[in-house]
Amino acid sequence: MKQKGHYLAKRLARTGVFFILPVLLYFIFLYWYPLFQAFEMSFKEMLPKMRMRFAGLKTYTEVFSEPLFWSSFLNTVIFTLISVTITVILALVVSISLNNLHRTGLRNVLTMFYITPTLVSLAAAALIWDWIYQPLYGLANRAFSIFGNSRLFLYLTSETQVIPSLAVINIWVRLGFSVLILLSGLQSIPETYFDAARVDGAKGLKLYWHITLPLLLPQIVVVTLLEFIFGLKVFDIVYVTTQGGPNFASHTLMLYLYNNAFRHYRPDKGAVTAVFTFVVLLAFSVFQRRLVARRRYEI
């Protein structure tokens, strides 16, 4: 009997392997193999006529000694911090407000409004905002002209305003997605917790602080992590609107990668940038997971 059970377990395990095989192959060929190739390429240097040779850390040294690489990284971090902070806070406020609506129909309609920009392609969103931001004819400055100055802000054409302006586009696009995740988290919190807290005398903001936020933490972490990854990989909206300008003020890490790999024909430098980004994202993900694990324990 024991032998028969063992045989069945083995057979089930074998069947399980067949079930996951397509996904496994997909990941191996479309993720792990290119990742391995990028790692390998980062230790090579490009020669004319598509030839490459092993160069050790030479390409890493070349990339890391370029001021444009570090300024691109800094721009990306600033963009990400602005985007993530505002998106998560706004998404939290919006999702709690939507969750408090008792009329389901109205809640669904408003949720749709927030989700719609997420359905727009990033390139299209960037073009829409490029028109809105146009300093001379754009909708934004036209609206601000009631304050007297027809060019109150320069948006994408100003070195200091370009990153916040791009972050606004990103927030506009991403907010709906984050709202959706947080709203589903809020709706899964059992009402009994709130009832118990109310019996203990908790009310108003205390309920949110001690019940809602701790129980919503896994969703907040997921949203933060996804937004962070999305922010760090920002490319489309920058490419369509500014191409890294003015004067490299919005040059991001992915633009640095793209320009080197495809426009300067230096895939070796592109590979180094990809590896660097991978390491940063991995470190952040691990840190975030550990933080959540600890917080869960505290809750």
Partner: protein, 435 residues
């Protein structure tokens, strides 16, 4: 009996002969060469007719070559990002059959182009206008068919803004000093001090190699070169006193004199929206203006001079190239097609008349369509003048990027011309040292 045998034998022979005849016909049909090549181009937005015409030309070629069923399928690639598509495809050995690109880059970096058969190259060399001869060539060998005869910067100016500023449209600036004077007269600010109309439109956005390209005429007019490919050196060339003076003048248009803006848009937008008096662009802009800004009253003049003529020359010598990775049959028919194209002036004339483009061929220039173009006189004057230095080298994009970074630094007031060009010279030296 004998007659019957003879009759049967005759019938048999007839049947064999007829069936052989039919088989031969079917074989002939089967042997009709069927070749379809894809043509990748990022030029579709520049001109709505020029690239699609290749499909029509292939159909006309088939009429004269009934033994072939040759097709060209157009694939319009967005301008922004075309390099990524091309380079990925070539790296995978799956590039297009035909493609519009800069031959020196695709040969020098990717070895992606098939060399042109000698007879077609010889014919092209005979019929190409002088300024277009270097396009489509790499390492002294011809690969591609040049796209445009007026592929060099010219001065475009707004007649209306000239008149409004009290300037005569018949007397465009002939020196850069005059260009500055004229620009000052055409520049306008609003009450808050914002530039609302500028004298001269500079390129300040987009990839740095495009920014370098638009600054090139200034370096040329001051007699400065960016580098010496044979010596593999940029130091002493781009940062020479002439180079520094040229870039400082260019940067001063924005920072010191404020006759150029870093906000109003790219040069073509500035001219087409009536926001600027003068810009530099190539002859393709004539067709583009006809499509996008037909109400703007503009003229074209030769580039101003300073220490010398700016000269014709460019950084983006577009040419139609043939993929090296194709099969021998595909290559045979593509080159047969181009043999027919270069030897048929009527088809080339139709191509350029319909697309309102300036042809690179001297044997079809007699058509009044071309002499009536606003850039015809300028093309003649500049095309017959000095050849400005060109840098058709494998790492052209990387080198031009460094020049563009220096130009941006000065335009945005981040650095003086000397410091910016010293930095660029050092970086370009390091790039050139690899070759």
């Amino acid at each position: 009996m004998k007659a019957l045998k003879f009759g049967l034998a005759f019938l048999l022979m007839l049947t064999v002969a007829v069936s052989l005849g039919f088989t031969g016909g079917a074989q002939e049909e089967a042997e009709k060469a069927q070749v379809e090549v894809e043509h990748w181009t990022h030029w579709c937005p520049n001109n709505e007719v020029y690239e699609p015409f290749w499909e029509t030309a292939a159909q006309k070629f088939n009429v004269e070559h009934p033994e072939a069923d040759f097709k060209i399928k157009l694939n319009c690639v967005p301008y922004e990002g075309y390099e990524a598509k091309y380079s990925s495809a070539f790296e995978a050995g799956m590039g297009p059959g035909l493609f519009n690109g800069m031959t020196h880059v695709w040969v020098g970096q990717y070895d992606a182009c098939d060399p042109m058969p000698a007879d077609i190259a010889a014919k092209l060399d005979k019929i190409l206008v002088g300024s277009a001869k270097p396009y489509g060539v790499a390492n002294g060998k011809r690969y591609g068919v040049p796209v445009e005869g007026g592929n060099f910067m010219m001065l475009y100016y707004s007649v209306d803004l000239f008149k409004e500023a009290g300037l005569s449209p018949d007397k465009p600036p002939t020196t850069y000093t005059e260009l500055l004077e004229y620009s000052k007269k055409m520049t306008k600010k609003d009450a808050a001090g914002n530039l609302v109309q500028i004298g001269f439109g500079v390129r300040y956005a987009g990839h740095p190699f495009g920014i370098a390209d638009k600054a090139a005429p200034f370096f040329n007019a001051w007699g400065a070169e960016w580098m010496n490919w044979d010596k593999k050196k940029a130091s002493g060339y781009i940062n020479s006193p002439d180079g520094v003076e040229a870039l400082q003048f260019y940067g001063d248009l924005v920072q010191k004199h404020q006759v150029s803006s870093l906000e109003l848009g790219k040069p073509s937008a500035v001219l087409s929206q009536g926001l600027g008096g003068m810009i530099f662009r190539e002859s393709w802009l004539v067709g583009w203006m006809a499509q996008n800004a037909p109400d703007i009253n503009y003229r074209v003049a030769p580039l101003p001079r300073q220490k010398m003529e700016s000269g014709f020359g460019n950084n983006f010598p577009w040419a139609i190239n043939v993929g090296k990775h194709l099969t021998e049959v595909e290559k045979k028919w593509i080159w047969e097609f181009f043999r027919w194209y270069v030897n048929t002036p009527e088809i080339r004339k139709e191509h350029y008349v319909k697309s309102n483009m300036f042809p690179p061929f001297n044997d079809i220039l007699d058509d009044p369509t071309f002499s009536a173009r606003p850039d015809y006189g300028t093309w003649k004057t500049m095309g017959g003048g000095r050849a400005a230095p060109t840098y058709y080298i494998p790492p052209a994009h990387e080198v031009l990027t460094k020049v563009g970074e220096a130009v941006l630094d000065v335009m945005f007031g981040k650095s003086g011309a000397q410091a910016a060009l010293d930095k660029a010279a050092k970086e370009i030296d390091a790039i050139l040292a690899k070759y």
